[in-house]
């Protein structure tokens, strides 16, 4: 969807630099995304309305709860394979809609899991021998104990007496062992609002979260699942509210492999990896991008400079490694070094370059860099400018065709394309649509017959900031200008904020948090930024509107 929008921006032209009525004045100035954020200590962030677990988080939660309940991961995984998780909808953090499929499918999965966990061979593992023995005297204790222990982990906080009564009623008047009754209790617990949502009441009028609420926030942020025993313990004894304990917990969470998996979602959303066109190299290209990000976040922690200048290949598969001219990476050793100067940084890799066909897409590349990596707004096109391309040209390079199409002086298209979009894309014309390096572009006629070649031109004035007229000769120099501008760091900080809090950022209200994230990224690198979020009031507190 977004890729379509990007292309539409380009093809319908781009508006004059005056502010359209629907845009705030500062938004109307292209290429003016902030490089730092003003912190107004008195500003209050937008309130959060009852956030829903993503279905990834819900799946992970049920997986870990099942493993915890059965005490045997292999056994639990065999059970989980039958739970029908595959029917759960796929969603993203920023998509907080509640639709019928969420409700229907989560209850169906909860029922299925309830039935599986209470099968005769598992009931004792789940609730103890008392759930299957013939001793009627322990039945009531058995049920109550199960509700209290399993319920606490399912709801992610201890149950109070009222909670216990509510779930005890679900079991039924008769406390004698009943798989169906236990299954019902499990179903309701796993479908309850405290399971499916981040239900947060806070502890006082100062908006502080309870230790259990904080534990959940940390755990779901860094691991996409419910708190483990250590975090639970820190919540239970209240020590999690202590700064040093919290910091130690964050360190522990970040050092766990689960953090890598969780941050895959951050990186995928930031780079819109789901929009990479299909093709044979798609999966290896996505894997390489994620490996590269994980490497500079966790394995060799570094900042955005390493990310955008690295000359190491993270291509694991033969085919992609062959495109790069290096041996495949085994995933654990030091990654191979690429031919010098040929592919510096994240933007010279297949995930970004591939277009689904041989043709490069400089407009799409330019819009992506402008919007996703620099966080610049592109002014809307004037109304009704038609999306009509010229007849396809033969005998000219892609750059020449695009220039002819979009940069004619005096046209509505030229303002944005000539100065803000195309130059960013042209810097990558040294790579075709399959990600292969090239100095010349092969040309074909309408029938596909070869017409010869023309040299590609990667020299541009990218205007990373509006006043910067520095020339860039290819991706390395463009990356240097982007790094020098500070916009890469500010933009990534904004993306991380959105990921962390499941809402869009607001520079006026969230300036303090954004600046802390940006600053930590700038000074300490990617991993430091991930850690910093736990120090923010936005993560430790919850504000309530009436």
């Amino acid at each position: 969807v977004h890729s379509r929008a990007l292309v539409l921006v380009v093809l319908v032209g781009c508006g004059a630099p005056t502010a359209p009525a629907h845009m705030a004045p500062d938004e109307s100035v292209p290429a003016r995304a902030p490089v730092t954020f003003a912190c107004d200590e008195s500003a209050v962030g937008a309130p959060i309305e009852l956030r829903r677990l993503t279905m990834t988080q819900y799946r992970n939660t049920l997986r870990d709860l099942t493993r915890w309940s059965l005490g045997d991961a292999a056994h639990a995984d065999a059970v989980l394979a039958l739970a029908g998780f595959e029917a759960l909808p796929i969603d993203r953090k920023l998509d907080q809609t509640i639709d019928q499929a969420h409700v229907d499918e989560t209850i169906r999965v909860a029922r299925q899991l309830g039935a599986l966990l209470t099968a005769p061979e598992r009931l004792a593992l789940l609730a103890g021998e008392c759930a299957i023995d013939a001793d009627a005297s322990n039945d009531e204790v058995c049920v109550s104990s199960f509700i209290r222990t399993f319920g606490a982990r399912a709801l992610r906080r201890p149950l109070d007496a009222d909670d216990e009564r509510f779930y005890r009623v679900i079991y039924g008047d008769d406390p004698s062992p009943s798989a169906a009754a236990y299954a019902d209790v499990i179903t309701v617990l796993l479908s309850a609002p405290e399971s499916l949502y981040f239900v947060e009441h806070g502890v006082d009028q100062a908006h502080a979260l309870s230790p259990y609420e904080l534990a959940s926030r940390l755990s779901y942020h860094y691991w996409q699942t419910a708190p483990d025993d250590a975090l639970w313990q820190a919540a239970e004894d209240g020590s999690l509210l202590d700064d040093s304990v919290l910091q130690a917990q964050v360190e522990r969470l970040l050092s766990d492999p689960r953090a890598r998996d969780a941050m895959t979602e951050l990186f995928s959303e930031w780079l819109a990896l789901d929009e990479v066109p299909s093709g044979q190299l798609r999966e290896p290209a996505l894997q390489e991008a994620l490996d590269m990000l994980a490497y500079y976040t966790f394995t060799e922690p570094a900042g955005v400079e390493a990310l955008f200048t690295s000359e190491r290949s993270f291509a694991r598969g033969e085919a992609l490694a062959r495109v790069y001219g290096v041996p495949p990476w085994d995933g654990s050793a030091v990654p191979p070094v690429l031919p010098p100067g040929e592919r510096p940084g994240l933007l010279t890799r297949a995930w970004f370059l591939t277009s689904g066909s041989l043709s490069s897409r400089p407009i799409r590349r330019g819009v992506f860099v402008r919007r996703k990596l620099l966080c610049d707004e592109l002014a809307p096109p004037p109304s009704g400018v038609s999306a009509l391309p010229p007849a396809p040209a033969t005998g000219r390079t892609t750059r020449q065709v695009v220039e002819q199409l979009t940069e004619q002086p005096g046209t509505a298209c030229a303002y944005c394309h000539a100065s803000l979009i195309n130059p960013l894309g042209f810097a990558f014309e040294g790579f075709d649509g399959l990600g292969q390096a090239r100095d010349e572009q092969a040309l074909f006629d309408a029938t596909g017959a070869p017409l010869g070649t023309l040299p590609v031109d990667t020299t541009t004035t990218p205007r990373v900031t509006p006043e910067d007229e520095t020339l860039a000769h290819g991706p390395a120099e463009l990356a240097a200008l982007m790094l020098q501008s500070g916009k890469l760091e500010a933009c990534l900080a904004r993306n991380y904020f959105r990921f962390a809090f499941g809402r869009l950022d607001d520079a006026a209200r969230d300036g303090c948090a954004l600046e802390r994230l940006r600053s930590s990224l700038s000074k300490g690198g990617l991993r430091a930024m991930l850690a910093e979020v736990a120090q923010l009031p936005e993560l430790r507190e919850r504000r309530f509107e009436p």
Partner: protein
């Protein structure tokens, strides 16, 4: 009279299912002969199937019939509307209404031609650009970034499938046992309220079923019979939400709204669990494939993908399990052999003969293998002497007109007469032909066309054919269904001159019957 519903318990279902689990084909002879017609309560009600394809870009001379339009009626004194019977040319093996609207003779029979309509000259009156919800009236579901289309993003409304699904005028007390509307395919075309039962809250995309087989099981498999002695578990779940919603623990107003939305969905689930699958549905076997397994960019795979959804929708219509289905096809489903970026390499180059050929061949396959496939599935005696197709309406809409991204003269193909409410077998041209204020020349005079009437009016006619009254769908004093807005002057689109403004004559008639189409 009390509604007559025959319910099956799990055991009965399994006994019945054992046969068709072995994949007996769906045979009309298996259907109850008097399922609806003989029952004054379960009288046949119209079904709506909507096939939405993106881009458009089919040049008009390829898409529309060259049939001589013999009838004319003045919409306004300076705007005649023309119509004529669809004429097919026959070769040994092919029936052709137009270069695109052609199919093998056994697929596009004389009978089928008489059940179709081809409508020309329906416009969305602003540059909506790419959209997904526009097919069904949510013009806010667009991806434009400027002009009226951008402003429209702040005025979402449900798509008409969701409006129908939750309207008492459509289902009334006969809401289906499982799915009010089958939302299918990879293109997000359906939008509804976050609280649909109350028609309140935000407008959000209605998630499409990603697997036709899972959808079939959702629609046709009866729920497990609850243990008689136990309170249904969904009631208990609902209780857990009420308890939090109404309890003493601190929540924000926004939290409560979200809980309300969730409880609405629980109530809908409860309703579905308490309803019984119509007994006629027991005659349908699970499809022998699953759309989720046919997602490669291969033309045959694309056809199979769509037909598997058709199979579920047709079965649901025929047995009364649902009366609405929408299928959104995206351009990464390739109905012709093509590798690359369809949007950038083909759709934008619709004037290039080679690319136009790809577009035309692609749409020809959609018509012959998807749209007519659904028509054929429903052209079965419904027990009253007419067919399910005759009692229904099938619509195929495209995202744009012949000029990719431009909503001028969006081509529409329909099938079925909704029990005679619609005339069929016609080509109808609503364009204001030859009038200079209505002229649209995308790039070249060779591709000239004209603005006609509002797409809003077509949507309103569909709603009326489905039994809706104006009061059921008109909002804010505006007629028709869809946004009331016109692209302003100074654009290449002809709308400012033709439609003038939102109070102009075309908006005034936007709920009126379309000439030659709707006969009530």
């Amino acid at each position: 009279m009390k509604r007559r519903v025959i319910s099956l318990d799990r055991r009965q279902f399994l006994v019945g299912a054992s046969g068709f689990a072995l994949s007996l084909p769906v045979l009309s002879s298996l259907l109850p002969g008097k399922a609806y017609g003989a029952d004054p309560i379960l009288v046949r009600r119209p079904c709506l199937y909507w096939l939405a394809t993106n881009h458009g870009g089919a040049i008009e001379s390829s898409f529309f019939p060259s049939t001589t339009l013999t009838e004319s009626q003045a919409l306004f004194s300076d705007h005649p509307v023309a119509a004529g019977a669809l004429r097919a040319t026959l070769t040994e093996s092919i029936t052709a209404i137009s270069p695109i609207l052609r199919a093998p003779r056994d697929v596009l029979s004389e009978r089928r031609v008489a059940q179709l309509n081809v409508l020309r000259g329906l416009d969305i009156a602003f540059g909506i650009g790419h959209h997904s919800g526009g097919h069904l009236g949510n013009y806010a579901g667009n991806e434009s970034v400027g002009g009226v289309a951008f402003d429209a993003q702040s005025e979402p409304r449900p798509t008409l499938d969701q409006l129908l699904a939750w309207s008492p005028s459509f289902y009334g007390e006969h809401a289906p046992a499982r799915e009010r509307a089958l939302v299918m395919g990879r293109r997000a075309v359906s939008f509804g309220y976050s609280s649909p039962a109350l028609a309140t809250g935000t407008i959000q995309n209605v998630r499409a079923a990603e697997s036709s087989l899972a959808l079939f099981h959702r629609v046709f498999a009866p729920h497990d019979s609850p243990e008689a002695a136990r309170v249904p578990v969904v009631d208990r779940v609902l209780g857990s939400y009420k308890r939090l919603r109404d309890g003493n623990r601190r929540l924000s107003a926004g939290d409560r709204r979200r809980l309300d939305d969730h409880m609405d969905r629980l109530a809908e689930l409860q309703r579905k669990l308490n309803a019984a699958v119509p007994v006629a549905c027991a005659g349908f076997a699970a499809p022998s494939g699953d759309s989720a397994l046919h997602v490669s960019p291969d033309p045959d795979d694309a056809v199979r993908y769509a037909q598997l959804y058709n199979e579920v929708a047709a079965a649901a219509f025929m047995c009364g399990a649902s009366r609405i289905a929408v299928l959104g096809l995206s351009d990464d489903q390739r109905f012709v052999d093509f590798t690359g970026d369809w949007h950038a390499d083909v759709a934008h180059f619709w004037l290039d003969p080679g690319k136009q050929d790809l577009i035309a061949r692609s749409y020809q396959r959609v018509f012959a293998d998807v749209f007519l496939d659904m028509a054929a599935r429903l052209d079965v005696d419904d027990g009253t002497g007419s067919s399910y197709l005759d009692g229904s309406l099938l619509v195929w809409s495209q995202e744009s007109g012949m000029s990719t991204h431009d909503p001028v003269s969006i081509p529409i193909v329909t099938a079925g007469s909704v029990g005679g409410a619609l005339r069929t077998g016609q080509a109808i041209d609503y364009r204001r032909v030859a009038h200079p204020d209505s002229r649209f020349q995308p790039l070249t005079a060779a591709a000239e066309t004209f603005a006609g009437v509002l797409y809003n009016q077509f949507l309103a006619n569909v709603l009326q054919a489905m039994g809706m009254q104006r009061t059921d769908y008109e909002r804010w004093g505006h007629r028709g269904y869809g946004l009331t807005a016109v692209e302003h002057a100074g654009t290449s689109l002809p709308f400012a001159e033709h439609y003038r403004d939102a109070s102009s004559r075309y908006f005034q008639i936007a709920s009126d019957p379309l000439p030659f189409f709707f006969q009530g």
